[in-house]
């Protein structure tokens, strides 16, 4: 009934070694992570603790056999790739051939924005630090999802949900929402098709970076046959109480309002699903094809066909969810609704209303519209066709994380894209954890007792204490414990990790 929920995001960054297109991306990614780790992580580097990871657990109730899994699915095997935990509770590591930042657990959409944007600054700093290593070649990072040559990499969202909610209900009500939410959350892309080769004159631009890479409606995979609803069931919390909904179809957004609405509107829809509030069937005919068709029409006129025969635009389909969400909040919370929930509802409505009238009215808020506007201005001035390399370059460079080169940063810097947070707030979040989840405990431990933390993960911190033969594992299985309210004072007054562990296990 509100936007509050335990959530977080993981972004894989595009990586390019300047002047060396054939450079090994795993090596380059390791250089990025290691440079950040050695410059900022004090003393001993805590390992990632894989004990609780089970990437082959399926939400539908079975485990995939390891032998038949694609090697890219075995994310719990420690391949010796760089992997560090930051004092803000985030994880910075190499995933496949990309550096990845997984945000700490937060509870509001604005905090999703804050710690995801902090991750962009971490990546920027990391690339600057890597460039200082003697003999190194500059590495540039991009917050996007495709090279436009067939490869795609993800920007995932995670939402903690009640285990008691039937997975079939999640699939039924979330799929139409996901198929249509790209009109708000798309990052924009020049090129149609997985390899971007279809650039017929009038259809060179699409709303989403990711939509062309989805091939099935429901499934476990994340790297091949990507599903609209991912069934990975690895809650990093008590599995009897929670599931973690792992969302893989989102775009990597730079615009703060795009990120905010992505997390906020999804949280509202999940609250309705958990509450059994959605009283209508909005099932879309041919969800995978529809996902692409919606993305391929930046005029937003494409009509989506529902199973009940109704035909409506993606914006109108979003308005159905908005109307339900408004009712849900009014019904359950009335005048007690919190400010951020009301703000998400108001912005969602405002954006949808203007998208329906003229998408360009959202050019200062949403990534795909901002990007399209810029591209259109170039097309008008220089008479460029959609297959012109310059337009592809603009698409790419929009996502460059460097403030001087990144076009998103140029637009935001000159006030052409609105912000929700100031630079200081984001900078602070690079080092400080959220105070209202277990990320607080993790982050503070990494900050204060770095020498004594042997490993950590979402659901544990493992201490190596002098005089103790075995490692001491402190489980953090409840994402809403280990907050500042729970352990702030305890950490403040524990000068050493021994004192902390003694106090906890007493």
């Amino acid at each position: 009934m509100s936007v509050r929920r335990v959530m977080g995001t993981e972004v894989e960054y595009g990586i390019s070694v300047q002047g060396q297109p054939a450079a090994n991306p795993m090596v380059a990614s390791s250089q990025i992570v290691n440079a950040y780790a050695s410059s900022t992580v004090r003393a001993r580097r805590a390992r990632w603790d894989f004990e609780e990871e089970s990437p082959l657990r399926d939400a539908r109730g079975f485990d995939m056999a390891r032998q038949i899994a694609d090697p890219t699915q075995l994310t719990d095997e420690d391949l010796g790739l760089a992997n560090v935990i930051l004092t803000n509770g985030a994880r910075l590591y190499v995933d496949h051939a990309h550096p990845e930042y997984s945000s700490p657990e937060v509870t509001t959409p604005l905090d999703v924005v804050r710690w995801e944007k902090a991750g962009e600054q971490v990546m920027l700093d990391a690339s600057r630090m890597a460039a200082q290593v003697p003999g190194s070649v500059p590495i540039v990072l991009y917050k996007n999802n495709t090279d436009n040559k067939g490869a795609s990499y993800g920007a995932h969202e995670n939402y903690l949900m009640r285990r008691s909610t039937q997975f079939a209900e999640i699939v039924r009500h979330l799929t139409p929402f996901f198929v249509s939410r790209q009109v708000v959350t798309g990052a924009g892309r020049v090129g149609i098709g997985q390899d971007g080769r279809d650039t017929t004159p009038e259809r060179g631009f699409q709303i989403s970076q990711r939509s062309d890479y989805f091939e099935v409606e429901v499934g476990l995979e994340t790297t091949l046959k990507r599903p609209i609803i991912n069934t990975r069931d690895e809650p990093h919390a008590d599995p009897a109480v929670y599931r973690r909904l792992h969302v893989i179809l989102g775009d990597a957004n730079l615009a703060e309002i795009s990120i905010y609405l992505k997390a906020g509107t999804t949280a509202l829809v999940l609250a309705m699903i958990e509450d059994g509030f959605i009283d209508r069937d909005l099932t879309v005919e041919g969800a995978v094809r529809t996902l692409r068709d919606v993305s391929h029409d930046p005029t937003l006129k494409h009509l989506v066909t529902l199973r009940d025969g109704r035909r409506l635009t993606a914006v109108q389909l979003q308005m159905e969810y908005l109307e339900l969400a408004r009712k849900h909040v009014e019904d359950r919370l009335g005048s007690d609704a919190d400010d951020q929930t009301l703000d998400v509802l108001a912005r969602w409505e405002s954006v949808l209303t203007r998208l329906e009238r003229d998408p360009m009215e959202c050019a200062t808020e949403l990534d795909w519209v901002a990007k399209l506007k810029l591209l259109q201005q170039y097309r008008d001035r220089d008479s460029l066709d959609w297959d012109d390399a310059k337009l592809h370059l603009i698409d790419l460079q929009y996502a460059d994380v460097r403030p001087d080169k990144g076009l998103y940063h140029r637009l935001a810097g000159s006030g052409r894209i609105q912000r929700l947070l100031d630079d200081d707030t984001i900078e602070h979040a690079m080092h400080e954890p959220p105070t209202d989840t277990r990320a607080y405990f993790r982050g503070r431990c990494l900050d204060k007792y770095a020498d004594s933390v042997a490993a950590a993960s979402w659901d544990s911190v493992i201490f190596d204490l002098p005089g103790r033969e075995s490692l001491q594992r402190v489980p953090t299985i409840d994402p809403l414990r280990g907050t500042k309210a729970h352990v702030g004072e305890l950490i403040d007054r524990s000068d050493t990790a021994q004192a902390l562990v003694a106090a906890i296990t007493r």
Partner: protein
């Protein structure tokens, strides 16, 4: 009604003047928008990577999740 009748009708001269003001407002705004577009494109021209074709071609990624 009576009140409305009391309001002096605008002379046709005044009407023309108003229209002119509106028109020049629009023209001015359009000029400002054009200038803004020129400004942003000029600014971005400065930072765009120099050889677009090569740059785009050499941006090759391995697939991820």
């Amino acid at each position: 009604m009576a009140q409305e009748q009391k309001q002096p009708r605008k002379s046709s001269q005044e009407e023309t003047a108003t229209e002119e003001v509106v028109e020049s407002d629009v023209a001015e705004r359009k000029e400002m928008i054009d200038e803004d577009v020129d400004a942003i494109l000029d600014e971005i021209d400065e930072v765009l990577e120099s050889n677009a074709e090569d740059f785009v071609k050499s941006f090759i990624q391995k697939g991820g999740q």
